[in-house]
């Protein structure tokens, strides 16, 4: 261990203190949300919950899972699972195919095709033309939502850059063995691109899981995803100024819904995080 001089030591102490403070600030809203979701009605309405739960009860959580608030909540939850599952699959398939084709050096019109994709990163038609386009293509049902969203130029380029770095020797060996392009893609490229694939999957899945505005705008009540319902529950809670006869506070209900909506993200996150820090850094996209 090398000796630290005074300024280094002071800086290190400051670093530890501030990083810890930052992390606690990051965690606080999550801990607070859990506490609010499971605290007693009186403690919540009087504002006695500051960090840890007070008078623990699970009525709000129960109401959402099996109680009288469960129906619309679960419908929207299933919708979100549907959008995330099929949507991510759809986006990944298109992006991987495109990235594979673009990584080929002998692709004809390669520059032109890359340009068509990159152009969408500089210029978008705008919100109103986009909306008119969705209307004219009848993007107003659950499959429409799957098809109309999801492929992003950035992710295609990220995958393409990664594919380009894959050793050509192995690929040529596979060609000699008579492998087709589909086989090369699925059996050579994909197993060697785990971190890039994990990053892109994470980005696409999160966009689907977290999407709000267009889902709210384009599809109707029973097809609304979780985020739209969650927003509705928040609105209702803030506008309630009569004392309800539920055994939990309306605020607890919102926090319970929040917690239930982020559980899948929190569960998947630790497994994917080791990939995306690497994936983000290869995203130094260049033509």
């Amino acid at each position: 261990m090398k000796r630290l001089d005074r300024s280094e030591l002071i800086f290190k102490i400051i670093a530890y203190v501030l990083v810890t403070a930052f992390v606690l600030t990051t965690l606080y809203p999550f801990i607070y949300s859990i506490s609010m979701a499971i605290s007693g009605e009186l403690a919540v309405t009087l504002g006695n919950v500051v960090l840890w739960p007070v008078d623990i009860q699970f009525d709000a959580v129960k109401a959402l899972i099996i109680g009288d608030r469960a129906k619309s909540f679960w419908i929207s939850y299933t919708n979100t699972l549907f959008y995330t599952f099929y949507g991510t699959f759809y986006s990944i398939v298109i992006s991987v195919f495109a990235a594979y084709a673009l990584s080929k050096t002998n692709l004809i019109f390669k520059r032109q095709i890359s340009f068509l994709i990159v152009f969408t990163m500089w210029f978008s038609a705008g919100l109103i033309p986009t909306y008119i386009n969705y209307r004219s293509l009848m993007v107003n049902n659950r499959w429409g939502i799957i098809y109309a969203f999801g492929v992003q130029a950035f992710n295609i380029l990220l995958l393409r850059n990664f594919f380009k770095g894959i050793s050509k020797e192995i690929e040529e060996a596979a060609i000699v063995d008579g492998a087709s392009d589909f086989q090369i893609l699925t059996q050579v490229y994909l197993p060697m691109s785990k971190s890039a694939m994990a990053t892109v999957t994470l980005f696409y899945a999160l966009n689907r899981w977290n999407g709000y505005f267009w889902n709210m705008r384009l599809v109707q009540g029973t097809e609304h995803p979780l985020q739209v319902i969650l927003r509705g529950i928040t609105e209702d809670a803030q506008n309630t100024d009569i004392i309800t006869n539920y055994p939990y506070s309306e605020f607890s209900l919102v926090y319970a819904a929040i917690i239930l909506s982020i559980i899948p993200v929190i569960v998947v996150y630790p497994y994917l995080q080791k990939y995306f820090a690497r994936g983000v850094n290869i995203g130094g996209v260049k033509e």
Partner: protein, 346 residues
């Protein structure tokens, strides 16, 4: 694997000869056709992405015509409405409601300038601090936690903000942050902070930092880690204390990353996420618009996508204006980035 490659060298040669033969075809198109036939699977793979980009990225561009037409109802077709020329542009910029347009324009720049001023340095400082933590376990745990908010939805974040800042009513005590601020005498009791124009920018920017600073530090952290430790040793030999080391070793070492990130950020100045603004300000009265309405939310509101009433062609005109300025900002930023650092987004 190496052996297999050697054994098949002849076959490889045959493959390459085939490509040379294709190169000898008479016309360009014959060559292309041969290439496509040879690698037909690759071209098949391009069909889905072409379809997607045509339908959902290029097809909407035709809709820009709406800005130049008398298009008042989404049920109309664009072709059937009359041509209006630049009327809609004149109306929004100089007409009786021009103030609202310019206010949205100013708000967009004010919000992103503040965001840049406060939001840009914090991930850098955070990355510096992370690099000081030599206990690997503690560092990776704190880093992982700090990225987390980036993965939480805007709806969840704005809901938490709304409840924590809520001013309370008969049935519910004020939110935890609201009572905290009251206790410290920063605000009056029961102030509805989210409905007041003066607090909007701080709320927006502070929550943005909470959300993105950890994730934003990834890039800078990688840049700091790439600096060779011998540089620090050399600086220490010359008697540099920690601040000198940061100034003369760390910052110059991460200069390329800093430049690119700054330029890219400037390029994104106009692209303020409308989702967060809408979610923070929906149903909070119109007073809040004084500071919260940005160009994109102005377009959505005028276009009837967040409110009932709509003046679609006016909204589209503002939209076109926004898209083009945004494009020039991005292109300009990219151009400068390519000049100064050889690195660019495209």
């Amino acid at each position: 694997m190496k052996k297999a490659i050697k054994m098949n060298e002849e076959q490889l040669k045959k493959l390459r000869d085939e490509e040379i033969l294709i190169g000898l075809e008479k016309t360009r198109w014959q060559r292309y056709w041969k290439l496509i036939k040879k690698n037909w699977q690759v071209y098949l793979m391009l069909i889905p992405v072409f379809l997607f980009f045509y339908l959902f990225r290029y097809r909407p561009i035709g809709g820009i015509l709406v800005a130049f037409k008398n298009y008042e109802n989404y049920a109309e077709t664009i072709a059937s409405s009359d041509f209006y020329g630049l009327y809609a542009f004149k109306f929004i910029m100089f007409g009786p409601q021009a103030d609202r347009f310019w206010q949205a324009f100013r708000n967009t720049f004010t919000l992103s300038t503040y965001g840049l001023f406060f939001g840009f340095p914090i991930p850098i400082i955070l990355a510096l601090f992370f690099s000081e933590i030599r206990n690997e376990k503690y560092r990776s745990i704190t880093q992982i936690i700090s990225y987390l908010p980036r993965f939480i939805s805007t709806v969840v974040i704005t809901s938490i903000i709304a409840l924590m800042l809520s001013s309370g009513n008969i049935a519910q005590a004020p939110g935890v942050l609201n009572s905290f601020f009251t206790r410290f005498g920063w605000i009056e009791k029961n102030t509805p902070m989210l409905s007041m124009p003066r607090y909007f920018r701080s709320i927006y920017i502070i929550s943005d930092i909470w959300e993105g600073a950890g994730y934003g530090s990834i890039v800078y952290f990688a840049a700091i880690m790439a600096i060779s430790p011998t540089n620090y040793e050399a600086a220490k030999m010359d008697g540099a204390n920690k601040l000198d080391q940061i100034r003369y070793v760390t910052l110059p070492g991460m200069a390329p990353t800093l430049t690119i990130m700054l330029i890219l950020r400037v390029g994104q100045m106009l692209n303020i996420g409308y989702e967060k603004v809408i979610l923070l300000t929906m149903d909070r009265g119109t007073d809040i618009y004084k500071t919260s309405e940005v160009l994109s939310t102005y377009v959505l509101s005028l276009g009837g996508l967040t409110t009932g009433a709509s003046q679609i062609n006016f909204a589209a005109a503002a939209d076109v204006f926004n898209s083009f300025i945004a494009m020039f900002l991005v292109l300009g930023a990219n151009f400068i980035s390519r000049k100064v650092s050889d690195t660019s987004l495209f």
